[in-house]
C-alpha cells in the first residue's frame, strides 16, 4: 500500500513538473499560424525560395570535395532514397563523440572524417544548401528521434534548458511556447516552437537559416547571452524540441514570416 502511495506521489510530481506541456491533439505546426499568402508560398515549390538552396544542395551533393576527392553521392548514392527520413531522426547519437549531433554537424562530421575536407562554417551557404537538400528528402515523414539510455540524459538537459528562466527578461522558452502559444507578442502570433521545417526560409531574414539561428534569435530576444553555433546546449535543446514534436510532419524547407 505504502509503495502504491509513493508511486502515485511520484506520478503527480512528474505530471505537475510538465503541466504546461501541449497535449498531442493540440499541437500545431508554425504553418497553421501563418497567413494565406505565406502558406501558398511554402506549398508551391516554384515559389518557395528555400528550393533555391535545395537546388544548390543537389549540385553540391555530387561535387567531389576535400583531399579524399569524394562526393556525398560516392558513398550515399541517390539522396532521394538514401537520405529519406534522415532529417526526421536528427539530432541522433554519435558513438564516437558520445553525444547527439544535429544534421549540420553530421554533414560536417562526414566532411572531416570521410572527405578529408575542412568543415563548412555554420550558416554558410554551402552548409545550408546541403542540409536543405537532405532535409527536403524527409518531407512528409513523421519526426522520430531515438530516445534510449544513451540519449535520455541529453533530452533531459534540453528539457531543463527549455523550462529554465534566463536572460534579463528572466523568461523560459516554455513560458511563451507552452503557456501562451496562439497569443500575440508584439503583433506576431506566438507559435508552439515545433521545428518541423528547418532549415527554413524566413522572410525577415531574406534567407534560409538553421534551427540554431532561430534559437539564438529567441535567446537574444529574451536578452540572454546566446550559445555559440554547435554548442552542446543548443543541440540538447534541438533534441528536446524534436522529441516534443515527435510524430509531426517534416515540411522542410518551410517558409516563415
Amino acid at each position: 500500500m505504502r509503495r502504491l502511495w509513493v508511486l502515485v506521489g511520484a506520478a503527480s510530481i512528474a505530471a505537475s513538473a510538465f503541466a504546461g506541456e501541449i497535449p498531442r491533439s493540440e499541437r500545431r505546426s508554425g504553418y497553421d499560424f501563418m497567413g494565406r499568402e505565406t502558406r501558398a508560398m511554402q506549398d508551391d515549390d516554384t515559389a518557395n525560395p528555400g528550393m533555391l538552396w535545395v537546388l544548390e544542395g543537389e549540385s553540391l551533393w555530387s561535387r567531389k570535395s576535400g583531399a579524399a576527392a569524394r562526393a556525398c553521392a560516392d558513398c550515399h548514392g541517390d539522396a532521394r532514397t538514401t537520405m529519406k527520413g534522415v532529417a526526421a531522426r536528427h539530432p541522433s547519437f554519435d558513438a564516437a563523440l558520445g553525444r547527439p549531433v544535429n544534421l549540420e554537424q553530421r554533414i560536417n562530421r562526414c566532411r572531416t572524417e570521410r572527405q578529408n575536407a575542412p568543415p563548412l562554417a555554420s550558416e554558410s551557404r554551402d552548409l545550408l544548401a546541403l542540409s536543405a537538400y537532405v532535409a527536403r528528402q524527409s518531407r512528409g515523414m513523421p519526426i522520430e528521434v531515438a530516445i534510449d539510455q544513451r540519449t535520455q540524459p541529453f533530452l533531459d538537459a534540453g528539457r531543463a534548458t527549455f523550462h529554465r528562466r534566463q536572460g534579463q527578461l528572466n523568461l523560459a522558452c516554455s513560458q511563451c511556447h507552452d503557456d501562451h502559444w496562439g497569443r500575440r507578442l508584439a503583433g506576431n502570433v506566438i507559435p508552439q516552437a515545433h521545428p518541423t521545417g528547418y532549415p527554413l526560409y524566413r522572410l525577415e531574414w531574406q534567407s534560409l537559416g538553421s534551427l540554431q539561428r532561430r534559437l539564438r534569435n529567441c535567446l537574444v530576444g529574451i536578452r540572454a547571452e546566446p550559445y555559440d553555433y554547435g554548442a552542446p546546449e543548443l543541440v540538447d535543446l534541438e533534441l528536446y524540441l524534436m522529441w516534443r514534436a515527435r510524430g509531426m510532419t517534416i515540411e522542410a524547407p518551410a517558409v516563415r514570416p
Binding site: 508551391d44 515549390d45 516554384t46 528550393m51 533555391l52 544548390e56 531574406q206 534567407s207
Partner: protein, 106 residues
C-alpha cells in the same frame, strides 16, 4: 552561384492566358546598409528582368533597391504559339542570367 526556378505550363490552348512564375537567387544588397565598421556596403541588385516569347518581348520589369532578396516575379501572357520563353536577368557587377522554358500550344 546563381540559380533560378521557372514555372511555365508545359501545354496550353491557343489564346489562353498563362501564368508564369520566376524565382531567382540574389542577395539584392540595397547599397544603403553599412557594415559594423561603418563602411558602406556597395549596392548589388538586379536592375532589369526581361521575358521574350519566341524572340518578342512580352514582359519587362525594372528592379530597385527596395525589392527583397531572391526576387519572385509572377506575370501572365497569352499563349499564341509553341516555342520558347526566354528569361533574362541583368544587374550590378556584371550579373547576367538567362533561362528558358518550352511551351506547347495546341
Amino acid at each position: 552561384m546563381a540559380s533560378a526556378l521557372i514555372n511555365v505550363p508545359a501545354r496550353a490552348r491557343r489564346g489562353e492566358v498563362i501564368e508564369i512564375k520566376t524565382l531567382i537567387s540574389h542577395a539584392m544588397e540595397t547599397g544603403y546598409r553599412r557594415s559594423q565598421l561603418g563602411a558602406r556596403i556597395p549596392r548589388d541588385i538586379i536592375r532589369l528582368f526581361v521575358c521574350t516569347y519566341n524572340g518578342t518581348e512580352v514582359f519587362r520589369a525594372e528592379l530597385h533597391p527596395a525589392i527583397a532578396a531572391n526576387p519572385f516575379i509572377v506575370f501572365s501572357t497569352v499563349a499564341t504559339e509553341s516555342g520558347t520563353l526566354a528569361f533574362h536577368w541583368t544587374g550590378d557587377n556584371g550579373f547576367s542570367v538567362t533561362e528558358s522554358a518550352r511551351i506547347t500550344v495546341e
